[in-house]
């Protein structure tokens, strides 16, 4: 009888401390704790939970490419470069490969830019292949698991499918050699070829200093209801419409171009960041790919993101409860966007704003230099740490081979 009462007391105590979504009133600002499906993991410290070994690749894979085009440091694919720099000086790095849990290959596949600044993915598969050939021949760790305890950062449009056009990307599929590795990518869409199980979705890179420089006082009243700046029709590549963004952006324009609540246009004003801070909702529709830096900007500026992309997988989806923070609209419901948004009860809107105001939420979306606790670098490491310990089966007996080194399009097999 005694035991039961103790158990009951313990249960009661634990129930009282594990409250979801407790409201903190601190320093005059009400914010709410973010608890995702994995619990309150945004503030976890990965140091001590994992060890990462960074391969020393010749500089033609990383430094030389960056020297050729320094624009790679500021575009939205810059996460691969900053992650490399972070890992080089991070306490999770180990120089002893035997004790490492994860292996990182610093190859900048998204740094071959057109004059316009858009990355060309045509050489990326060969670059990646060449890098993997190098590490498999110089170190024994790749062959031991065929890459299962290696991770790669592939921030391109469709991740490791290495193409900007969706059909081509689907046709290519994920690079065969990366089949067993963990991919850290910005692209995320459920049931899509280019998102394999166990990938970690990260936010695209948005320059933190630039966003900090445009902050306005939080007491500025939010007077814009819905805000969006960007293309609705990509006239250069899709003149008839209906292809770009699966017609969703065009639908937004056609339905709401004369609605005073919707401040939408293609012009790029100098006050873009300031305007986002004066808006209640910011639209984040898909473009050619479902992800965009708008999500990061909306979160940093406290504007509720309205995500119009079917089946999208948002960054750190297991750590951040995106349904409670943003609004998800099906593409077929776009014509009723105004009805949907105005019928949200104000308490729900205020709660979302409180969650967005949480500084750990904003930190998790950014890649600051130097790294700060709780930022996107740490969330990636947290994600990797959550995948540990590795399943015993990934370690292959010597001589076993799963990967077919000649699989894939013929063009990929050419040396880089």
């Amino acid at each position: 009888m005694r035991n039961w009462s103790w158990v009951f007391v313990v249960l009661l105590y634990s129930a009282s401390i594990m409250r979801i979504g407790a409201v903190e009133v601190g320093r005059g600002q009400q914010t709410e704790r973010i608890s995702g499906s994995a619990g309150d993991v945004l503030e976890d410290d990965p140091v001590g939970r994992l060890k990462v070994f960074v391969y020393e690749l010749p500089s033609k894979y990383n430094k030389k490419i960056l020297q050729k085009d320094p624009r790679c440091l500021t575009h939205m694919f810059a996460a691969e470069i900053y992650m490399h720099r972070f890992l080089l000086s991070s306490p999770v790095r180990t120089l002893n490969a035997e004790e490492a849990d994860w292996f990182y290959t610093p190859v900048y596949t998204t740094c071959d830019l057109t004059p316009n600044g858009l990355p060309l993915p045509f050489k990326s598969p060969r670059m990646m292949r060449s890098a993997i050939q190098l590490i498999s021949s110089n170190w024994p760790y790749w062959n031991r698991t065929e890459g299962a305890d290696h991770f790669f950062i592939v921030p391109h449009d469709f991740g490791a499918c290495f193409h900007y056009q969706e059909e081509k990307a689907i046709e290519r599929g994920i690079l065969h050699l990366l089949q067993r590795a963990t991919l850290v990518q910005t692209f995320g869409q459920r049931n899509h070829v280019c998102l394999k199980d166990g990938s970690i979705t990260i936010p695209p890179y948005a320059p933190p200093q630039k966003m900090q420089a445009h902050l306005i006082p939080p007491s500025t009243p939010r007077s814009i209801f819905v805000y969006f700046r960007g293309l609705f029709y990509d006239v250069g590549n899709d003149p008839e419409g209906g292809y770009y963004a699966r017609g969703a952006r065009a639908a937004v324009w056609e339905n709401f171009k004369d609605n005073p609540l919707f401040d939408i246009s293609t012009e790029h004003p100098t006050t873009y960041y300031e305007d986002m801070q004066r808006a209640v909702f910011c639209l984040c529709p898909l473009g050619w790919a479902p992800w965009s830096p708008r999500l990061v900007e909306a979160v940093v500026f406290g504007c509720i993101p309205v995500i119009i992309a079917d089946d999208i997988v948002l960054p750190f989806a297991d750590a951040i409860p995106w349904e409670e923070i943003g609004m998800f609209i099906d593409e077929k419901d776009v014509p009723n966007l105004d009805t949907i948004l105005t019928s949200i009860p104000p308490e729900v809107i205020l709660r979302k704003q409180r969650l967005l105001a949480n500084p750990s939420m904003k930190q998790a979306m950014l890649f600051p230099q130097p790294a700060q606790p709780g930022d996107a670098f740490h969330q990636i490491l947290n994600g990797l740490a959550r995948k540990l310990p590795h399943n015993k089966r990934v370690f292959l007996k010597s001589g076993n081979k799963i990967l077919n080194w000649t699989a894939g399009p013929v063009g990929d097999l050419k040396p880089w």
């Binding site: 316009n116 209801f225 250069g236 590549n237 105004d338």
Partner: protein
């Protein structure tokens, strides 16, 4: 094979325009040299010619859809409207039989794309039948915005807002309605509790009370028994006395809050009311001085002369050093204007402010009370400073030590209100309460208005019935107050008539 070639050419075109001139390594087989490529090139040229002739873009999609047999239509999207251009709708009607969607390319790995409902390819642009705002939803959105802003104010704005006590001296004259309405509307928009004390020279009148009744604010209307003098110097002094009268009311009734001085012709910004909530005991804000005269030529000459020397910064307010502490005061440089300044109300010269205007100061009402706990010792008691019927230049005379004044508005850098004095001549007339009663009955036939039933040529009839004495006037300025509500005669015509009429009356009177 044709299919793939077409797709490739389409993709090539898109790829080229998307990425600039980039070598397409992966799609290495160039379909340009082969006969199929030439065939498609010829077809492309043919389509261009057809488009030129027809006048709209004849899409090659038609051919593609005609020749495609392997494409399965998986999703049906209804396209109700495309673009508003007629040409495109015509294209649509030719393609109306192809209403169902075609994937440009079937997914290669059918095994992995098992339960995805997202289809790659051309989708219709969904437009609802009436793509215009719904007023009910617009109202709901505004309520949401209001709620969000209220929450913002609660979180980031002033924590415990204090009541504002606004003191305005006024008197009945032509421009009173203009000025007082401006102040009234500003105060009606203030989000804090307000007590408005209006001191009226010449006693309280119905004119002012009826104006104030429209505001819905809590007002205290006090009459001051002297009439407002004509010269500006005397007027400034009397206004100071009126303000002191109001301060006495604050003292007697122990009103609690922030005392600010809103002269009726000044312009206040909404940020001013938020900023003064930060004041603790006595604060000063920067006032923009608009010294204006009716004579623009004169003003221009003054401005040009001053360009070489230091141009007068038209600001009165606190001056701070780099560590944001009060070190002095900016005052308006009166020297260039002194000779030409206005002497009496309504003359067409520049009206100058005094050294430091009352409007730039805000006080904590407890400074005026006889006893208040934590009343600081650097404030003099109101009665001892003023006595009976005296006046003080500015609230600084209430302080033993002027350095305790708190500079507001980021240390005086923000100008939050503007000082302006614009008045009509003292003897100018205007209809009481701006209501014309009984209505004017002046019928003057229009000679040139093209009304269908008006007879073409009529001698001007001068049926002037009972024009009240009040409205009568010599000055040309107020002729415009005689509104012609019935006829639409042109002003020149009317002016001429009025001249003749008034001259007739004058001659009659004499």
């Amino acid at each position: 094979m044709k299919l793939s070639a077409l797709q490739q050419s389409y993709a090539n075109r898109r790829g080229n325009s998307f990425r600039g001139s980039a070598p397409l390594d992966s799609s290495a087989d160039g379909g340009i040299k082969s006969p199929t490529g030439i065939f498609w090139l010829v077809l492309h040229g043919l389509c261009c010619l057809i488009s030129l002739v027809l006048g709209f873009r004849f899409s090659r999609m038609v051919f593609f859809l005609l020749f495609s047999t392997s494409n399965t239509t998986t999703n049906l999207y209804s396209t109700s409207l495309f673009r508003t251009a007629a040409e495109v709708s015509e294209t649509l009607t030719t393609m109306s039989s192809f209403n169902s969607l075609a994937n440009l390319e079937p997914p290669a790995n059918t095994t992995t794309v098992s339960s995805s409902r997202v289809v790659v390819g051309r989708h219709g642009i969904l437009i609802r039948p009436w793509p215009h705002p719904n007023p009910v939803e617009v109202m709901k959105a505004h309520r949401i915005i209001e709620r969000v802003q209220r929450e913002q104010r609660l979180q980031y704005g002033v924590k415990s807002p204090r009541t504002l006590i606004v003191i305005t001296p006024t008197y009945v004259r032509t421009f009173q309605t203009l000025h007082l309405t401006g102040v009234m509307h500003s105060l009606m928009n203030v989000p804090y509790d307000l007590i408005w004390i209006i001191v009226e020279a010449g006693g309280t009148t119905n004119e002012t009370s009826s104006l104030l009744a429209k505001s819905g604010l809590r007002t205290i209307h006090i009459g001051f028994d002297k009439k407002m003098p004509i010269s500006w110097k005397d007027r400034h002094r009397m206004e100071a006395q009126m303000r002191l009268r109001a301060l006495r009311v604050v003292r007697e009734e122990k009103l609690d809050g922030i005392v600010m001085f809103a002269d009726d012709s000044n312009m206040h910004s909404m940020e001013l009311f938020d900023e003064i909530q930060n004041m603790k005991w006595i604060g000063a804000v920067s006032v923009g001085i608009l010294a204006h005269s009716g004579n623009s030529d004169e003003e221009l000459s003054i401005v040009q002369k001053d360009d070489e020397e230091n141009s007068p910064m038209p600001i009165q307010g606190p001056a701070c050093n780099s560590s944001d502490q009060l070190v002095g005061w900016h005052t308006f440089n009166l020297l260039p204007y002194v000779e030409r300044s206005a002497n009496y109300i309504g003359d067409r010269a520049i009206v100058l402010p005094r050294k430091l205007e009352w409007a730039g100061f805000v006080l904590n009402s407890r400074l005026l009370w006889k006893e208040a706990k934590d009343k600081p010792e650097w404030v003099r008691d109101l009665d001892t400073v003023v006595g009976d019927g005296g006046d003080i230049e500015s609230p600084l005379s209430l302080l033993k030590d002027p350095s305790v004044v708190e500079p507001l508005g980021s240390c005086g850098r923000k100008v939050l209100l503007w000082w302006l004095r614009v008045e009509a001549r003292v003897d100018s007339k205007f209809p009481a309460r701006w209501i014309i009663d009984p209505p004017l009955e002046v019928t003057v036939a229009a000679k040139r208005t093209p009304w269908p039933d008006a007879p073409p040529e009529l001698p001007p009839t001068e049926k002037v019935i009972s024009v009240e004495e009040k409205k009568e006037n010599h000055a040309t300025r107020t002729q415009s107050t005689r509104s012609k509500h019935s006829s639409r005669s042109r002003r020149k015509h009317e002016a001429r008539l009025v001249e003749t009429r008034s001259s007739a009356r004058n001659s009659g009177e004499k």
